[in-house]
């Protein structure tokens, strides 16, 4: 009888321990841009498992496109992951509204929140509720090839306004050098110019107002002005031949091979221009950047940054270890390590010390000091309006539509949203 009791107690104990211990956190991630990214996630998972015996963290990776197309179905099925990667913005708002996410506001104390940049926490919140944890930010810069601009006699550091930039592009073109390398097939690289111009001309507030449909939405004069500025650039024919059949990764490689003077991209370009170049080395120390120039009369602060905020959203009914794991993954040590490995720019406060590349450290500092961080417009506006914006930017550039038509195209999509 005694042994039976003991046996039953052991069995019961095991059962309880089993249910408490056998906790699995299933993470759905996008395939990282850099090879060390995947290993980083797996190492962090292993470290968390070592600290929390019995917990398993499982990472699944999908490429961007499959990730985006599979997610809606997945989130509404019982096979949904516990947390998944997010670009925040409009798609995140849709997900929050649809009730597929978990409100984790109560899991984050004031002290917890202080570990992350304010813009990061804001980007992961909808209607004042926190649904996820930010992990990194991306900042867009105008990168240039030192050797080529010197050859053309242009000093990029003296470019302060959009007109300066147009003049520099013209001078470079006259010197027989391609002014800007562009991955036009993917459209969004063109829209980076359009979005940056809009944020300089209309300002962050203007963009948010247009998103809500105030002041004529995107038919607002400021957006038409942004399109006109875009057209001024396109009229110089500044891109490499065949840019509309060049994907962004290929364009980064062309830039790394010295096929053009400027390239507009996020901080990821430092790695991408080397990896995708024919030599595999890229520009090395010849690579530097300037911030996007101001537009005269614009309402946006030239110190505002433009780019992405990325992190992890927690799904409803996520396993109990999900939030602790996300906190672990974004703690100072792991954030610093991510920066050191040049996987991304950490969004944690004081986690910039690991960044070794001086250019990346400078971008990280600009991001932390910026009065506003404007989210990529195609992400802010959500899938359909974002795609319309990318189309509009591409078609202004190819001369298929006028700036007015472009603004109208985006506004139409917004009204349909």
């Amino acid at each position: 009888m005694k042994s039976l009791c003991l046996g039953a107690a052991t069995a019961l104990g095991l059962l309880f321990a089993g249910s408490a211990m056998a906790d699995t956190v299933r993470m759905l991630a996008i395939e990282p841009n850099v090879p060390q990214g995947r290993q980083y996630y797996l190492d962090v998972a292993k470290a968390f498992e070592a600290e929390n015996p019995g917990t398993t963290v499982q990472f699944d990776f999908l490429d961007d496109t499959s990730f985006k197309s599979k997610l809606p179905t997945l989130l509404q099925s019982s096979a949904r992951p516990d947390a998944f990667f997010t670009w925040t913005g409009g798609v995140f708002n849709e997900q929050a509204k649809a009730g597929v996410l978990k409100d984790i506001s109560s899991d984050f104390s004031e002290a917890d929140r202080a570990n992350y940049a304010v813009s990061g926490m804001q980007a992961m919140s909808h209607d004042g509720k926190l649904y996820g944890v930010p992990m990194y930010a991306a900042g867009v810069a105008l990168w240039y090839n030192k050797a080529l601009v010197a050859k053309a006699g242009v000093d990029p550091k003296s470019i302060k306004t959009w007109d300066d930039f147009l003049a520099a592009s013209k001078k470079i073109k006259d010197a027989g050098i391609v002014p800007i390398v562009m991955g036009g097939k993917d459209k969004w690289p063109i829209a980076l110019f359009y979005g940056q111009l809009a944020s300089r001309i209309a300002g962050t507030d203007g963009i948010n107002a247009a998103d809500k449909g105030e002041n004529g939405g995107f038919n607002n004069p400021d957006f038409i002005k942004a399109g006109e500025a875009m057209k001024q650039l396109a009229d110089l024919d500044p891109f490499q031949p065949g840019y509309m059949d060049t994907t962004q990764p290929k364009a980064a490689g062309l830039f790394g091979d010295g096929r053009g003077a400027f390239y507009m991209a996020g901080n990821f370009l430092v790695g991408a221009q080397a990896q995708n170049s024919a030599s595999g080395k890229g520009l090395g120390d010849d690579l530097d950047f300037i911030t996007f120039p101001a537009v005269e009369g614009g309402k946006g602060d030239p110190a505002d940054t433009f780019g992405g905020i990325n992190g992890w959203l927690v799904t409803k009914e996520a396993s109990p270890s999900t939030v602790p794991f996300l906190k672990f993954m974004t703690n100072k040590k792991n954030q610093t390590e991510g920066g050191r490995l040049t996987i991304w720019l950490p969004i944690g406060t004081d986690a910039q010390s690991g960044i070794q590349d001086p250019r990346l450290r400078e971008i990280a500092e600009l991001l932390s000091k910026a009065p506003h961080h404007q989210l990529y417009l195609d992400q802010l506006l959500g899938a359909s309006v974002g795609a319309a914006l990318n189309d509009a930017a591409a078609q202004i550039t190819t001369g298929d539509i006028t700036p007015e038509e472009a603004a109208n195209l985006v506004e139409e999509a917004r009204e349909m949203r």
Binding site: K185, G242, M244, D245, S384, A387, D391, D400
Partner: protein
């Protein structure tokens, strides 16, 4: 559908069932019909009705489907210039299939249908593109058309001329797609024609020889009439296939430049699925379904129905 019972009075349903029971057919029917019917309903009929229903809603793929918008998705579709372009592109694909692909396939089939070892080798070569996965062919050809690192770029460099960026050019991009589609599928139609040509009775050809028919007379008066059923079948496949082209376009141009090279299906994918307008995508799907059905049935009536069975 006309039935074969002629002027005989129709037996009552009960009598028919009783007769089937007597003949032992009823058991077979009850046993074998339900599985097929259930599967067909579940995987074919139900999704069609579901898509038709979804096309009246605005739905992003998240949350409940409760935003009924009536015909709005169809109205948007009717007004959207990119959709008009994609319809016209699908039309161009149909024309290219009928006017370039099938004549080419027929010509090659006439040249190599006889069983010799050289002909077998040619058949294999011509059929090879069809075996390749569509997406792989798209990627391969995107490298061929690449003006920087691709074959067309290398040829241009070797000749010392400016490289052409065919896929970046609104004027030529769709021609490039048509080229790839013709290249990919002519071998399939050629095989259908070869099989039919090999079944042409040798004695008829011999009789034509004895009657003094020339090479072309034999083709036009003996071979072609005898393989007309295969040609009609090929035309049918070409029509329906051209309406469904998708996986070649995505890697080649992804619908660009400036959305000028979408087919109906790639339009559906881009504007319906990738942009999370599931209701809108369903409306495109319904239009595509109707187009396919109308094409299939009217072709059956016009061509196959009059010429007898396939």
């Amino acid at each position: 559908m006309t039935t074969m019972i002629g002027s005989r009075p129709k037996p009552s349903p009960a009598a028919r069932i009783a007769r089937m029971h007597k003949q032992g057919k009823l058991t077979a029917l009850l046993l074998f019909l339900p599985p097929a019917l259930v599967l067909f309903t579940l995987f074919v009929i139900w999704p069609i009705f579901n898509a038709a229903n979804l096309s009246f809603f605005k739905w992003t793929g998240y949350g409940a489907i409760d935003n009924f918008v009536g015909m709005q998705n169809y109205q948007r579709l009717a007004k959207h210039s990119v959709f008009h372009q994609s319809l016209w592109n699908s039309g161009k694909l149909i024309l290219a299939s009928l006017l370039i692909q099938l004549p080419l396939a027929l010509m090659l089939a006439l040249l190599i249908y006889k069983k010799t070892s050289a002909n077998t080798a040619f058949r294999l070569i011509f059929f090879a593109p069809y075996i390749l996965a569509e997406i792989a062919s798209g990627v391969i050809w995107s490298f061929i058309f690449d003006g920087d690192f691709g074959i067309s770029g290398q040829i241009a460099t070797a000749l010392g001329v400016e490289p052409m960026y065919i896929l970046a050019d609104r004027q030529y991009a769709f021609m490039a797609i048509i080229t790839v589609v013709v290249w990919k599928y002519f071998g399939y139609h050629m095989m259908i024609f070869i099989a039919a040509l090999q079944a042409v009775p040798a004695d008829l050809l011999e009789a034509a020889d004895i009657d003094g028919a020339g090479r072309w007379q034999k083709v036009f008066y003996v071979k072609l009439p005898l393989i007309m059923h295969a040609i009609k079948l090929s035309v049918f496949f070409a029509l329906v296939g051209a309406l469904q082209v998708f996986d070649i376009i995505i890697p080649l141009t992804n619908g660009g430049p400036s959305n000028s090279t979408h087919s109906i299906v790639s339009y559906l994918y881009t504007y319906g699925l990738a942009q999370l307008n599931v209701g809108y995508g369903s409306a495109v799907g319904v239009v595509l379904f109707i187009l396919c059905m109308v094409t299939a049935f009217s072709y059956r009536r016009l061509a196959i129905g009059k010429g007898g069975a396939l």
